[in-house]
């Protein structure tokens, strides 16, 4: 029985239980007209329904995981399975084919040798289907009966249903923790493995990044794993060039929009900025690689800078900066808005002009918020992947010339992991160490920034 059908069945049983329990509650009510039930009849319904559905669904899930194996065992025990090849993959594929045919997912087997298995599969599947069905029914019935028998006029069904609901809510919020644990665990585990192959000193302080995925994994040549050029490239593109573009433009946009712009202008420009923020990074990357990077190289060459690279750090940084503008602008917007109007009034009442008020009072007052916003923007920029993958290069260059090509941490993560190299090789695993560094840095930036913002908000509340 497919899990979906079992699920539907459980839901149908739940509905039946709901109706029955509600009817039962009504009979209590009719039996003693003056007396209030401790809970609405529908809660009695929900109580029984949950007691039917949750165990049945849990069972269905377990059964869905178990039954294929049971079916398989019984098929393997059948005589038709005797002449299955011993090679695992082929064996599995034949079994899978036969099962697919038996389930009606495909019309026929490709491998004629598997044809004989279809019938055993059919028998076994229907046998275990019946068992599954029966067990689901029994479990649903037991859950239903047990809960049904507990119904009384004074039974606090609502409280119990609500407890179950609360448990579900709590479980949902735990997913966030699980995700964090998942991230940290997967990064830490692989990073430790990487540091077993390459020394952390070499990795963190080396200045040559040139991993060779074809080298002998047992002799990883630690001096090829110096990540300094990557860190530098990341900072240069994401935290320097991009910010040189994004901070002034974002800040000035926010100032203009909040302090000067006509509401009608604002009504159009704000969504336009939001569109700029909503453009996928792969589009920015394409734009950078196709339009900006060659343009910058041509300009540089025409200025006589002949060694300008066509995948310059500048191109990637500029486009990344443009991508970040709306982000900075909205953070600055929020921070400026959080400054009490009284500050502004105070300054205006002194006879300051708007720009004096903004520059000398509003911005300094909003500074913590703005700085935190910039930190978040930096964290975003250094974690940005597609723009640099498409517009920066893979060459690890330790240079301060924006016209040269540089690579970043994210580019290297993509490069190391899309080659599908072997997971035993330090070159592949290095991606996780890089990811871990990236994670820690962005985490740190975000953590500090969020705290600063929070304190800043509280200061003005």
């Amino acid at each position: 029985m497919s899990p979906a059908i079992l699920l539907l069945l459980a839901l149908a049983l739940g509905l039946a239980g709901w109706l029955a329990a509600r009817a039962r509650a009504w009979t209590f009510k009719r039996a003693q007209p003056g007396v209030r039930l401790a809970a609405l009849p529908s809660y009695h319904g929900w109580y029984v329904a949950l007691w039917i559905v949750i165990p049945a669904v849990l069972f269905a899930m377990v059964w869905a995981a178990l039954s294929p194996n049971l079916v398989l065992q019984s098929v393997l025990a059948s005589p038709a399975a005797a002449d299955l090849p011993s090679f695992g993959l082929q064996r599995q594929t034949m079994l899978a084919e036969a099962r697919n045919v038996a389930l009606g997912n495909s019309p026929a087997v490709f491998n004629p040798a598997a044809a004989g298995l279809v019938e055993p599969f059919r028998t076994a599947i229907s046998f275990y289907n019946w068992i599954g069905l029966a067990a689901t029914l029994v479990i649903a019935f037991l859950g239903g009966a047990w809960s049904f028998l507990r119904l009384r006029p004074d039974f606090t069904a609502r409280t119990r249903v609500e407890k179950m609901v609360m448990t579900i809510l709590l479980l949902a919020s735990l997913v966030a923790i699980l995700t964090t644990i998942g991230i940290v665990a997967s990064l830490v585990f692989e990073t430790i493995r990487f540091f077993g192959m390459v020394s952390p000193i070499d990795f963190l302080f080396g200045t040559q990044w040139n991993p060779d995925p074809m080298s002998n994994p047992l002799n990883p040549q630690g001096d090829r794993y110096g990540a300094i050029p990557l860190f530098w490239g990341t900072i240069f593109i994401g935290a320097i060039i991009a910010m040189i573009v994004a901070i002034p433009l974002g800040l000035m946009s926010a100032i203009y929009l909040t302090q000067y712009a006509d509401p009608r202008v604002r009504a159009w420009v704000k969504p336009a900025l939001e569109i700029l923020a909503g453009v996928p990074t792969v589009v920015y990357g394409y734009f950078a690689a196709l339009t900006i990077a060659p343009g910058i190289r041509d300009i540089a060459v025409s200025l006589g800078i002949s060694n300008a690279s066509s995948e310059s750090a500048l191109a990637a940084g500029l486009v990344m900066g443009v991508m970040i503008i709306p982000f900075v602008s909205s953070m600055a917007d929020d921070s400026i808005a959080a400054v009490p109007g009284a500050m502004r009034d105070g300054s205006l009442a002194m006879g300051a002009t708007s720009s004096e008020t903004i520059r000398k009072v509003m911005i300094p007052a909003a500074l913590p918020g703005i700085v935190a916003g910039v930190m978040l923007a930096v964290s975003r920029a250094i974690g940005e992947t597609m723009i640099v993958v498409m517009a920066a290069s893979t060459a690890a260059n330790l240079s301060a010339n924006p016209l040269e090509s540089m690579t970043t941490v994210t580019v290297q993560i993509v490069a190391m992991l899309t080659g599908e190299g072997s997971f035993d090789h330090p070159a592949t695993v290095s991606a996780f160490a890089l990811g871990f560094v990236l994670f820690l840095v962005t985490l740190g930036l975000n953590f500090i920034a969020l705290r600063v913002v929070k304190r800043f908000r509280e200061a003005y509340e």
Partner: protein
Amino acid sequence: MTVVHDNLEDTEAKMRAHDVNVFYGSKQAIDSVSIDIPQKYVTAFIGPSGCGKSTFLRCLNRMNDTIPAARVEGEITLDGENIYDPKLDVVQLRARVGMVFQKPNPFPKSIYENIAYGPKIHGFAEGKDELDAIVEKSLRRAGLWEEVKDRLTDSGTALSGGQQQRLCIARAIAVDPEVILMDEPCSALDPIATAKIEELIADLSGRYAIVIVTHSMQQAARVSQRTAFFHLGKMVEYGRTSDIFTNPLEQRTQDYITGRYG
């Protein structure tokens, strides 16, 4: 409609409002108010909440310009010049007509910078020394000097509420205004701080034309020489403070000061 007492000896009017109406969008908040604000006196605006005191006060230095929905009609003059004349410069106007707000709003800068801000932007001081002098003088006049002279670099927001309010007054004084408007300057303060501010207002009153909005009739009686009573956007009665409180000519004024409503 408005009763103006006739025993007001002919003081020089620093500001004059004539038939002023203020609208927020389509809602009228001030209904044809005319009043002379005398030189060198303290004028108090009293009236129940929402009657338009703050609105009218903010007309006097065009702070209403900052509210997009607000629209002012009528004429207000400062030394005979119409302050709503498009040719008139708001910046200059606001430097001449200072304002102190209900909640103390020092800038999140040092005490020194708070005071120096106005003189600096207006370019009143030629050098550091001159600026220092202005700061000291203003703080002294605001009666704050002794309390803060050793910590001028501390943040203005680190002061107590009453000190902050005096800082704001000092800040207003620092640009040498001709009129000072105060919108319920003591409502956020405790009685002791309030007493200090009232003392300060008394000190300053000879030097500037001062207009103060207050909720407390006692305060109006203590600090002002003239009182205007507002009700529902109209100015109901205007006269010597002593007369208004002891001898109001209007029933509504009488009702208000005896606590029938408000």
